[in-house]
Amino acid sequence: MSPADDDMDEMFGLPKTGGIADALLEGRVEPDDAPPGLQEVATFVLAARSSNADGDLAGETSVVAAFIESVRAPVGIFQDTEGGARVFSRSFSAKVAGAAAVLALGGATVAAATGSLPGSIQGVASRNLSHLGINVPDPETDAGRSGGAGSNIHGSTVNATAPSTTANEFGLCTAYFAPDSRSSTNTNRGKALSSTAFSRLSAEAQAKGETVQVFCAAVPNPGTTSNSGSDNSSTTDTGKPVTTPAGKTPGGPPNSTPAGNTPGQPPTSTPPSGTPAGPPTSTPAGHTPAGPPSSVPPSHPGHS
């Protein structure tokens, strides 16, 4: 504040605390009590604050009716122009992200449960999922274990609905002969067939003196039989292994995860695809989590 302002303060008796100024503007000063030079201001302030409504209440009926209607029937999300859309957007995004995370976890879990992830990833998945109470095969710890592919699945959570050894073999066979979605030919499997699971499948076939094709042809489709603990008995995938052309050479890429083609795998960790957030239009604004009222005017938090 300039020296001239200070002179004005003294001239008009305005303390720097603003006490008089506040009292004046808030209509608490009668013109006769106002500092010299501000009597007129006090007069105008009192008149401006007059309770005489004049015509200032015109339209009361319509405004009140609209107000009541709006309060009784909360405005929908997309009609709320004061930030409701942002609230919805955050909420919806969170739901979608959550659902995606669950789906991703579920898919990875199924893939890991079959032991069909590449060796190093399978090991990491096994150790991480074990923290969640889900036991899946670990190529490092299972290296010395005997038994077929089915014995790789152990533990409580997954094992509760784990398919039989036959089901696992059938799943592996299905994945083994499934065409690579990235390749136009079935012969270009890259490194997929060199994964731990497929190597084990190949080893089992060789142990029986059979090719993988012959070995898999002998594996019954668990989906056509009564498989305990699994309601995933769809037969839609049943024909794949036997109809897949033979003559494939092992040594494919590790990234063709066969989880989705594995019949009989536990569906418990994979939510139904239709589960995520319902249609956004069905969620009224009033039902969405909202911030404190002070946040309603975004750039003006001070309402106290």
């Binding site: 201001v41 200032d56 107000f67 004061e82 003006h300």
Partner: protein, 183 residues
Amino acid sequence: MSQDPLDEALDEARRGEEQGVVALYRAFNPGLVRYLRHQAPGVEEDLASEAWAAGAALLPRFEGDAKAFRALLFTLARRRTIDHYRRSGRSPSVVELREAHEPADQWDLQAAVVSDLSAQEAIKALVKGLPTTQAEVVLLRVVGDLSVDEVAGILGRSPGSVRVIQHRALQRLAKKFKKVVTL
């Protein structure tokens, strides 16, 4: 401890009870319209209605008291005013700054001694000649009955800044009326 009548009215309004809404409207709308009549003459009632409608839409999520709701209404009204000028391609500041350089006239002095001075005439006399920001602070403080903190929130300024602005406005007003007296 009894609740403020306007706080009770706000609670009733939240429940969609007419008497509460009417009480709030009669308490807050006159000041709102007077503010808007100065800021956007000719469309003040439309803008006030829009502010009430927006306030109603926000009420289910609003947890403040009646005083805070009044501040909310003025915030909404101010936004609607800005939108109005944006739509019309005009700037309120240009108009008001031009008026700010006009000297106070004799009518102001005469009006000051008229006992039946209307509220709107008093507002005009009070803020005429003030720069835009000073006029708005005075309007919000006087006809909006808003505190320094509330005005600061509405204008996006600090309370200290608002105090300085209102102080300068009073100094200017004192000069203005003194000048008129000495004419």
